[in-house]
Symmetry: C2
Subunit: 407 residues, 2 copies
Amino acid sequence: MPALSSDFLYSLNLGKRYNNAFISQRARQKLMTSDREATLIIAASERDANLFYATRFLAPDPFIFAEVHGRKILVMNELELDRARDQAQVNEVIPTSKIAAKLKARGARSIATADIVDFLFKERRISKILVPANFPIEYADGLRNKGYQIRFKSDPFYEKRMIKTKEEVEAISETQRETERAVAEACRILKKAKIRGRYLIHEGRKLTSEFIKQIINVTLMESGCIAAYTIVACGKQCVDPHNQGSGPLLANESIIMDVFPHSTKTGYFADMTRTVVRGKASDRLKKIYRAVLRGQDIAFKRIRDGADSAKIHEAIFQYFEGLGFKTGEMGGRMQGFFHGTGHGVGLDIHEPPRISRGRDVLRAGEVVTVEPGLYYLDAGGVRIEDMVLVTKTGCTNLTKFPKVLEI
Amino acid sequence: MPALSSDFLYSLNLGKRYNNAFISQRARQKLMTSDREATLIIAASERDANLFYATRFLAPDPFIFAEVHGRKILVMNELELDRARDQAQVNEVIPTSKIAAKLKARGARSIATADIVDFLFKERRISKILVPANFPIEYADGLRNKGYQIRFKSDPFYEKRMIKTKEEVEAISETQRETERAVAEACRILKKAKIRGRYLIHEGRKLTSEFIKQIINVTLMESGCIAAYTIVACGKQCVDPHNQGSGPLLANESIIMDVFPHSTKTGYFADMTRTVVRGKASDRLKKIYRAVLRGQDIAFKRIRDGADSAKIHEAIFQYFEGLGFKTGEMGGRMQGFFHGTGHGVGLDIHEPPRISRGRDVLRAGEVVTVEPGLYYLDAGGVRIEDMVLVTKTGCTNLTKFPKVLEI
């Protein structure tokens, strides 16, 4: 799924532009918390990748995680206590009730989250707190009112999350294999469909975006992968890259399928886009398709440890411009190549680094998408997306699915 | 899916205990923002129900939403601009690039989210900002550094979200119908399974938690509902109410199925739990089942506009105690009835109000679960969960699925 492109939009969405080479140094300093400083996350790990990464424990309601003097500590309510002790990769699980009982014994009449954290940190002589950028104002204000100094660190909060281990690459690849199986099933149905006038007919009915999305999502669920917001957009709909698509799919028009599920077993995402035409593509669409394919090649050749992502993005952009594929607002609509070339994939679908104007320096071990696209109201849209693993000397494509326009 | 129970855990997880009768008054005051105050949310609406509720626009990346002098304003990046103009239920969609261009013309070299918001608010003479409790520290600190006064409002940020409209009740009921279809399919397979020793055999193989979860999740996906973290737990596993279950399902033991999907069409959740035994339940398990069923009836009789949820929860708790079903840590494990009786359901799976020790006052139009449970290591676990709509004079059960222990 495409992410944003230019500087300020980028900084807008990630909160802060970051340069890996630069930040890795700064962040090392930043994460070298002093003796009086602890790391704190309060979130529901089912919706917070940093917390899941830190604990490998999934829970639907917010809980307290602290890293104090190198020890990982969870404070868990009674409902999750036993499961946390069993599953969480931490040094200690403290029952909330234990801390609450002590606070009540001291005369506390009502106990808020900040009181629990305060008790935990006072016992351990902590006065400063490091939190992720998305740390809720409610807890921040509560703890500041108690005298704690709080600073936040922008994404990537855990730098290590960017550099994937062998196991993480395998998990991403496994989700990718299931993604390819699902898109193959969609293509099989598209191929089998009969062309009647403008429409595609499948088992006597008009084939729709909704139907193909369901085929993809159900196939993925059959292998334990959850796909949400799958895109199957046709013709003019493609020109909005995040338009999920709806209604009848048309013959001889571009159909963009962008599929980005995560595995319920591992939590890791995959991300792939293919553009197909059932029937005959126009000459203009074929030209666009070839340009986007070559745009991908430009990235594949340049991606390697130490590469400046902005230069990669710019090279593709300039290649498109050179072919006459301009980008900008035309007739009140954004057209051309107006999203980033790629983004990191892992426990989040969009994570650092970005291949865009943000100047991230790529590093070996990162898994990034390569997904240039061109969108024009008079021709339709083309986006082709693979996932690659950045290596010391280049990159390894983790995507095996063929790229064919007309099917 | 069960939520937390006692006071401090409750306040821990919702940030603040709230009493509807009390807060509805306080909140009205709080939301009556002054002329100089605007409401602000910056989030990805796919993961933030308040933002989706306010805009009815789904996007995977964070964007800016402000309500200024009664006007709803979005600031959108170029990637989402056209789609937002088309789909979002707001008064105005401003392109980020427009504000950024003005800031650049004034000499800004880098532009952060806070700069964009600052520009928007300065133009509109806003100096105070009201945000939800989960507003990220990064943006809060950025805006406070620019001189804005920021206060947060605890959940429910939008009180109206608690009182469901007719359309919202229909959307929840629709998701519930699909949930029932999926659990019916699971029961069909359980019933058909042959009992061989301790195990259940389906098409020559041991029936597992994983297999039944997949049946449920795939059936739901076929109707456009996404079920994540579905629980199919058996025997001792049931004693951890959030344990999703794994491995072979056993004959003559409790199997808890807790299913809580949301619709991809409407975004609304449903939530249902059934406990079954394939084969013969022990006498003790039957007793527990009857107690839990009657526990539900206690709630059904008491739920109505104005009811004190703490009294409902306490009545069930005392009923269980009276039957000898004690709650507490036994042999190092929490056993008995150690979660809340129910919680609100809507665009979030766990939302206000809670039926627990938190003293929420129920109001007509709220949709809440009723899900008492009893869990013992020597017998297994039983939880039975329906969703009801609170009315002026009582409640309407939105769940139609039968309750049968032995199948």
